[in-house]
Each structure stands twice: as C-alpha cells, then as structure tokens.
C-alpha cells in the first residue's frame, strides 16, 4: 500500500522534473500569469541573455495594478504607469504571449480573470509575480507568488527551482452564522495563527464550512493565505469546482473535460495523510471581523475594543502594537464600532467577484452613503462589471452614492490614482492594512464587502448584522 498523500504532495510529486541529492527540486509550471509591475525586468533579462519564452501559450498577461479605474478612454495620465503598461504590451507582442489589454472586456485583476477564463484548473501548478496567486488554490491547484527573477526563470524554462513546503491543514466546521462571510473566516484564521503562522507551509483548508462554500468564497479564503505567511493555500476539488470550471473559455472541452475530471477526482488528500500542523476552528464562534492595526493579524470581532498594549508581555509585539495604534490614530479601549471612517473601498482580488458585489449591493439597497464619506466599488474584471450591470447592481450602488468604477487593483495598493490622503481612514475589502498601503499615511480597516457597506452608510465601523 502506498503511503497516504496530501493534495499538495500529489500535485508536487506529479510536477517534478528533477530532484537533486540535497532535495532541491526543479518543478514544472503549467500556467504562468504575468502583469505589468513584476515582469518588465524579467523580459529585459531574457533579451540580455538572448533567451526565448519556452511556452508563450501557457502564459497569460494582463494589465491590472496600474490601470486607471475611471475615464479609461482618455488613456493613462501618469507617464510612468503608461510606460509600464505599454512595455507589457510590447513584451507580449515580441514574445507572442496572449495579452488582455485594458480595453479588453476580459481585462481585470489577474487572480480574478484566471478562474473566470477557466485557465485555473485542479491539479495544476500556477505561478505569478504576485503574492495573491494563492487565490487559485481554491481549485485544488498549487498556486503561489514569485519574484521577478523567478518570473524570468519560468518564462525561460517553464520550471522553478523549489524546496518542498510542509503540509498544514486548517479545518473549519459547521454552518456559517448569520452575517458571517468567507472573508470573516479567513480573517479569523489569520487572527488565530498569526501573520507568520503558515510560513514554510502550504495550507489545505478543509472541513464542512469550507466544503459548503461557493468557488468565489473559497477564492477569498485562499487569497489571504499569504497574509498567514503561507505561499499557497489549497482546497480539495469537488463537484462545486468542476461545475464552475466547465464551459469556460480555457477549460477542457467536451470529451477532454471528462478525462480531466476523472483525474481531478483523484486529487483530494488520502484518508490518513499526515500534516505537519493541524488547526481547527468552529464556524459558530466566528463573528464579523475587522482589523484595528497595521498587520492582518491585528483583527477582532466588530463587537470588540481596541486592545491595550500594556497587556502584551512580549516586548516586540508590544512595540508593534504601540506603533500600530499610533499610526492608526486609535486609543486603547475604544469600541471598534465607534471608529468613524472617511472612505470605503470595495474591490481587490480578495473581494471583487460578482457574489461579493451582490452581497454588498444587498446592504446598500435603499440606503445612502453617510455624509462626508467617499465610497467606491471597483469590480474585479470587465466581465464582473458587465454581469453586475446586467443585474442592475451598479444602479443600486450609484443611487446609494457609491462611485462605480472600471476594473483593476485600484486602492488595494494605490498604485494608480485611487488612494487615501494622509490620516484618512478607510473601510476596505482588500487584503493588507500595512502602513501606507492604500496611500501614504492612510489608515486601513479590513473587512467583508457587507461590513464595508455597513460602514459606508453609517459613517463608522458597524456590525452589519444590525442592518441585515
């Protein structure tokens, strides 16, 4: 009898090209996604060495980080952003790589369009020069972020030099309580294990709560694996996965699909497979979450209060808390729901898919954004935007006072014109609340789309359950 294996073990072992004596592996990469920010230096390196792209058709490029989310027909004002995006287009043309430019309806955030196009499939290895590549693990694929040197390595060789990761399983059991979303689940997980809790590991999310989620909910969970320190997060593929993939443009066609699905069914972790670390949570214990500090692990239920640093015994952690509270302009003991906000951002590869927008619109419907609050909705892709408009969601957002924008990374990292002013406080559905992340001096509170709308309409952090 063969040793029971995890989902990660199976994908890893089936992609080994070469294993050195010291255990260093050459791993085959099935799909490579690229964007404008982390690829120009990689193409430059290829040119300098006279190397070619090994599999242009296993590569897909999209402009997302820098693109404007308004008045796109007027082009890109910022000359540096424009040059970076033009460089991507020129590189794709030179190396024959398929490219969705910003006027293509299929354009969007790279981690939203991969699954949307059916390019993301179970059992694959997928990489991208972006840490939120972990999103694609929702399909039971091994997907992780890489640096630009590795982007160049994959372009040239379709492989990566890697060391195997450890297996970690996080099980979440039970039905999600009223008002609690996948975003709250993953924030609660990060709160529990910490922002370095998954370092060196690949996390497999398991349990009845995870199995009951839609693909979009699963993507939200896997997306933030990196905020728990894990390069990749995985969820066992099942009928929900197959149903989602089927019929999408890059999915296997009829005949091939059945063959693929038969293989995909062999992927889930074997009973008795061993994990280096196991963590479990009960869904019933999770309330809507909101971050108070400058690390995603600084998270509490909305019913909580800003913590007191003097209660922290570890010196490093205490300093980090003091620094975070000073940056965030918050006093210990403040009730989270008393914290007023200036801006709201609904978007990002974490929460800009159609289900996120539907959930947000359901809270926004018939309400108004509070006086003095600026609020924007940035759909994850042109196709998400089109679908939302077909359902009339844009009208709900607009009549509530939200700005309805064009797709891109936008204020998640504020590389384009969408950013916070110093001291501005934002309720955001994105994934990072680091200092300066949404603009120099900007203050970010992470939460679910529903919670962000609740904050928008009341003007302060709010328990969305009171509005549902």
């Amino acid at each position: 009898m063969a040793e029971p294996r995890t989902l990660f073990d199976k994908i890893w072992q089936s992609h080994l090209v070469h294993v050195q004596e010291d255990g260093t592996c050459v791993l085959y990469i099935d799909r490579h996604l690229i964007h404008e920010v982390t690829s120009p230096q990689a193409f430059e390196g290829l040119r300098a060495a006279g190397r070619r792209v090994r599999r242009p058709k296993a590569t897909l490029a999209v402009a997302d980080h820098n693109v404007p989310t308004a008045n796109r027909a007027h082009g890109i004002e910022d000359p540096e952003s424009r040059l970076q995006i033009e460089t991507l287009g020129a590189n794709c043309a030179e190396f024959a790589i398929p490219y969705f430019d910003m006027h293509d309806i299929r354009q969007g955030i790279v981690h939203i369009i991969g699954p949307e196009q059916g390019l993301t499939q179970p059992g694959m290895t997928i990489v991208c020069g972006d840490s939120h590549t972990s999103t694609h693990g929702a399909f039971g694929s091994l997907a992780f972020g890489i640096g630009t040197s590795e982007v160049e390595h994959v372009l040239a060789t379709q492989t990566l030099i890697q060391q195997p990761a450890k297996n970690m399983r996080i099980s979440v059991e039970g039905e999600l309580p009223f008002g609690v979303t996948p975003k709250d689940v993953v924030l609660a997980i990060i709160g529990k294990i910490g922002t370095a809790g998954g370092t060196g590991h690949v996390i497999e999310y398991a349990g009845s709560t995870i199995r009951s989620l839609s693909m979009e909910g699963r993507m939200t969970i896997c997306n933030m694996s990196i905020e728990a320190g894990a390069r990749a997060g995985l969820i066992a593929p099942d009928e929900t996965t197959f149903e989602y993939v089927k019929g999408r443009p890059y999915a296997p066609k009829a005949g091939a699909f059945e063959q693929a699905a038969a293989f995909w069914k062999t992927l889930p972790s074997d009973p008795g497979a061993s994990f280096h670390r196991e963590v479990s949570l009960m869904a019933s214990e999770i309330a809507p979450q909101v971050t108070w500090g400058t690390s995603p692990q600084d998270v509490l239920p909305i019913t909580g209060e800003v913590p007191h640093p003097e209660n922290e015994r570890d010196e490093g952690k205490r300093h980090a808390m003091e620094r975070a509270l000073a940056y965030m302009g918050l006093a210990p003991g403040t009730k989270l729901r008393d914290v007023s906000i200036d801006a709201v951002f609904i978007g990002s590869c974490t929460n800009a898919r159609i289900e996120d927008l539907r959930a947000a619109a359901a809270v926004a419907k018939g309400r108004k954004v509070a006086h003095g609050v600026r609020a924007m909705v940035v759909p994850g892709s042109g196709l998400v935007r089109e679908q939302a408009e077909a359902e009339g969601l844009h009208e709900i957002f607009r009549s509530a006072g939200f700005d309805w924008r064009e797709p891109g990374c936008s204020m998640c990292l504020a590389m384009n014109a969408d950013r916070l002013a110093p001291g501005e406080r934002c309720a955001s559905t994105s994934n990072r609340n680091f200092e300066g992340r949404q603009g120099r001096g900007g203050r970010t509170h992470l939460m679910s789309p529903q919670m962000a709308v609740a904050a928008a309409v009341t003007g302060h952090l709010t328990d969305v359950r009171e509005l549902l």
Binding site: V17, Q20, D22, V26, Y28, D30, V37, T38, P40, Q41, E44, R51, N66, E80, S81, L83, Q84, M124, G129, D130, S131, T133, G145, I146, G147, T148, S149, E150, E152, H153, A156, T157, Q158, T159, I161, T195, A196, T199, I226, G229, P252, K253, A256, F257, Q259, A260, F263, S295, G316, K317, H319, A320, L413, A414, M415, R432, F434, E435, G436, R437
Partner: protein
C-alpha cells in the same frame, strides 16, 4: 549576480517585527521598468517626511548607519507582497545581508536571486546583536558565508544554518536559469510524458 563570500560592514538595527515589503519599498516606486536606482527610496515613508526631507530619527539617516551593509531586524522580515523591488532597493542602498529571527518565504527566496544573504538566528542572539550594534562604535560585523558565522569586534562568532544549494549558488554567483537550462532534456521528457497523461493541459 555578484558573489557573496565574506562581508564586513556596518550593521543597522531596525527593531521592528513584521517589516513588510510595502515598508521596504512603497508602491509608488514599483512603476519602474528597471532594477536599479531604488536605494534612494528604501524605507521611504520611515526615512523621509512629507516634504521629502530626511527624518533624523530613522536609523539609516544616522551615522554610521548611513553606510550600512547589514540590517538587523525582528521576526517575519519581508512579509507581504512578492515584489523583488524590496531586495533590489536593499541592494541598491548597499545592504547585502539581513539578519533576523525569521523571514517571509517569498522575500527570503528573492534575496538569493540578488546576491543578498538572509541570515536566520535565534531571537535572543538577534536581540544581543541588535543591542551590540546600537552603539555606533560596535556597529561593524563580519558575515562569513563559507564558515557560516557572524562575528563582531567582541562577540561571536555565532554559527548560522543555510541550505547547501543556496549557499553554493551565492558563493559562486550562479545564474539559476543557466543551471536549469542544462536540464532541458529532462524538461522536454517531462513535457512529452505530460502530453500523454494530461492531454487537456496541452490542448
């Protein structure tokens, strides 16, 4: 990539946990299409005020740390995004070695691609090194990769662990891509096999 063998230089203490890549190099500097020139913007928000003037309290704005070649930080250094601009900025500033109790995976990996040595040491030892270099007179450390040690004018040497293959590549300044291209035959045979067993991946 430059080789890394033995480095003697000023070490700057940065006693912060979870130093993220947004702190190391904020996003407004990611619009470049080059690898060089980022050193000026290293730790931009901590280093400069709103008028772009140096903040005198920040360690890299103080003597002798302006010429730091080594950085000492707390746990989980380099967490956050995959931007290789973070090691590029460190390198362009002149930092070739970061010492911390732990590193985030992607950043750790990116260092080796750029001739930067990340040294992992136990928390208490990192704490002692940090205290030691806080006095400018003691700020010079020597990091010896062949011998895998860190030493100061009084303390040390302290031994550190490192993966042998990564050490080999760093010592010799090897280009990963050239190494992998030597295995082209194996890559081709993998692809041929996958075309038969997983045909839908090649449609």
């Amino acid at each position: 990539m430059d080789k890394f063998t033995k480095l003697t230089g000023i070490a700057a203490p940065l006693p912060i946990v979870n130093v993220d890549t947004d702190m190391i190099i904020p996003k407004q500097f990611l619009k470049t299409i080059k690898r060089t020139g980022l050193g000026r913007h290293l730790f931009d928000e901590m280093r400069y005020d709103d008028k772009n003037a140096e903040k005198p309290d920040f360690v890299l704005n103080k003597e002798p740390y302006r010429k730091a070649k080594i950085l000492i930080a707390r746990d989980n250094f380099g967490c956050g995004s995959s931007r290789e601009h973070a090691p590029w900025a460190l390198l362009d500033f002149g930092i070739r070695c970061v010492i911390a109790p732990s590193f985030a995976d992607i950043f750790y990996n990116n260092c080796f691609k750029n001739g930067i040595l990340p040294v992992t040491l136990p928390k208490d030892i990192v704490g002692k090194l940090m205290d030691f270099v806080r006095s400018g007179a003691n700020a010079t450390l020597t990091v010896d990769l062949p011998g895998q040690t860190v030493s100061g004018s009084e303390g040390g040497p302290v031994h550190f662990e490192i993966d042998p293959f990564r050490k080999h590549c760093l010592l010799n300044g090897l280009d990963d891509i050239a190494l992998t291209l030597e295995k082209t035959k194996e890559i081709e045979s993998f692809e041929e096999k996958q075309k038969r067993s997983h045909a839908w991946l090649w449609a």
